[in-house]
Symmetry: C2
Subunit: 368 residues, 2 copies
């Protein structure tokens, strides 16, 4: 694995050289993990002119492969409380003869940036402006494999929940049970706070579980994901509680299903991100739900649950192969509830069979 990280660091070094910096300081945790194989709390990575160094405030916990940094990195533990590894990294850069250090201005606070400058006043601080995030967009097969296993775990947890009695249980309890099942099946943990929404709450994006209990006739929408070896996926489904859904529930469900399918089917390399959004949004717009729509219909996933690309009306850029994204349109009708259907898929060329669906739980409208 060590080689993977070295190759990633070489690519970042090229980006930095192109803007005139001979070294870079990476501080955003997901970026540190991407380039170093692990991100101990507070650790920063110095891509130096003579060697790469992972700086930590305390010795990293290296008992598991997931938390053990890449062997080819030198490890530097900054001593004592309050010693900021980023400030120490600036000192190391100067000692290596670096005169311009690229830093993550979108992650460093103003105060921390000033402390780095104060510790090494002759060092010019440049910006790397999301360079690592851009490298992270297209995944290798090892990364996709982690997402695939995470999706299997989420599918299993959701499948087991559906076999249990739901009426009378609270949103909070169902969410906790799902998170327990994720861990039971081997997840590092939930990829984000599990959302369970019943009745009038159903279909609300990012709904935080309440003490409302599941009732007969409710819509029940669930959104969860597993983290597996650091990679985060997402699945969302909506069900009906009781023997038979009402007509308005079937109509709304079919509509959101069509919108989600349109989004999924447009996931082809070379498609503009905004066109994926438009494909899904158009279906809902045409049915008169323009006002009820969220600002986006999907986003990239990986070491973070919300990465580039963004699937929004104003998004720039096109989809590449091997980019995992969510497609998650929904409609929420205040006071009545709503529907949300959310999959994680990987963009693949048509010759390879088109988009690869990672979250395979059925999208039929189940009455539970």
């Amino acid at each position: 694995m060590s080689e993977v990280y070295a190759v990633r660091r070489a690519r970042l070094r090229e980006c930095c050289n192109a803007v005139g910096s001979t070294a870079a300081l990476v501080s955003r945790p997901a970026n540190v993990r991407y380039l170093a194989g692990a991100a101990p709390e507070g650790a920063v990575l110095l891509l130096g002119s003579t060697e790469d160094v992972l700086l930590c405030a305390a010795p990293p916990d290296d008992r598991s492969p997931q938390t053990r940094p890449d062997d080819s990195l030198r490890l530097h533990v900054t001593a004592g409380a309050g010693a900021d590894p980023a400030v120490a990294a600036a000192g190391l850069a100067v000692a290596q003869g670096v005169d311009s250090l690229a830093v993550e201005e979108h992650h460093l606070t103003v105060t921390r940036h000033r402390e780095i400058h104060a510790a090494a006043p002759k060092l010019r601080l440049a910006g790397v402006a999301g360079a690592v995030e851009q490298l992270r967009v297209v995944k290798d097969e090892e990364e996709i494999s982690c997402l695939r296993i995470g999706a299997e775990i989420a599918d299993q947890a959701l499948g087991e929940l559906l076999e249990s009695i739901l009426v009378g249980r609270t949103e909070r309890h169902l969410a906790l049970e799902l998170e327990r099942r994720l861990v039971d099946h081997g997840a590092d943990g939930p990829a984000f706070p599990t959302s369970v929404a019943t009745g009038p709450n159903a279909g609300r994006p990012g709904h935080r579980p309440t003490d409302r209990r599941v009732e007969e006739g409710d819509f029940l929408s669930v959104c969860l994901g597993a983290t597996y070896r650091g990679y985060r996926c997402e699945i969302g489904r909506t069900f009906v509680i009781g023997t038979a859904p009402a007509d308005w529930q079937i109509e709304l469900y079919d509509l959101v299903f069509s919108a989600q399918r349109a989004g999924r089917e447009s996931l082809v390399p070379g498609t503009a991100c905004r066109d994926v959004d438009r494909a899904a949004r158009h279906v809902l717009d045409s049915a008169g739900y323009a006002e009820a729509l969220p600002v986006r219909t999907g986003h990239g996933v990986g070491l973070e649950i919300d990465e580039d690309p963004q699937l929004t009306p104003a998004a720039m850029g096109k989809l590449d192969a091997c980019v995992p994204v969510t497609v998650e349109p929904g409609v929420h009708l205040p006071g009545r509830g709503g529907v949300r259907i959310d999959d994680t898929l990987v963009v693949r060329p048509e010759a390879d069979g088109g988009p690869e669906l990672l979250t395979i739980t059925t999208k039929e409208l189940l009455a539970l």
Copy 2:
């Protein structure tokens, strides 16, 4: 309650005026919540020259008192994706005739600070340098009451766990069960990721639960906390699994217990923070454990689990009455395990009975 928030904002306004700013932009979520009563995701608070405005990227969820902002604030929803409420706040400040805006430089990133400046180039951006954090150190009785209830919840969750069979269960499962019990008893959620550590892991500060199972003869150390109405407390205890602890376990436990008691007993208004640390540390130092000690023996708690004051050898400042802190010395012996005892207490004058212990689970060495 509305008055409480208005008073807090008036105090911050005084701090800003003292440094020559007529307005302030608060962006750190816990600070926004402290001053506005709620912190919807991404929201910022403008303390303006003519009115105070809470700016959010999406309409806040105001169905529960915990997420409903203070009524006396004007609410401003910035439209569309990517519209940063902080940038919008700078525009509002200019419209109010503000020429100098104090911002939280320890929270704003370099990029965001630059965007605010670009949107309002004539506005001078000053720093407020932890001013809200300082206001937050001394709690009112309403805040302490939330911490007290949170501590009761954590005590209950821990007490129930102790009554169950522990041998053979994994650290991960025990941690998840504790978190479920916290929510069962009315917590908003865990105050921080619950730590359960067995055998050689016991006593490691911040240990992340693994798949190791509890065995006879183990030390078992547990650290958990509840969030109640936003306020976070902490309790840590160490137990022995089996009928009788070994001699080394009893000795180590007694030592850490003495250190923790020394720390607790020194919590008197006017005591230097470093002297609390020294009181606890001295006991362990004298017994030859100087090397094994963590960098601090306690810290403040409140809307965040780690607030000022810090109880470290180099800490500046003195304790005030009504400041809640943890006292949590511990010793970890690599390969053997260790002991950690952690309470949340409120500093009170001796005339009021001295430090108020919020986490009341026994600190006797229980053999489970």
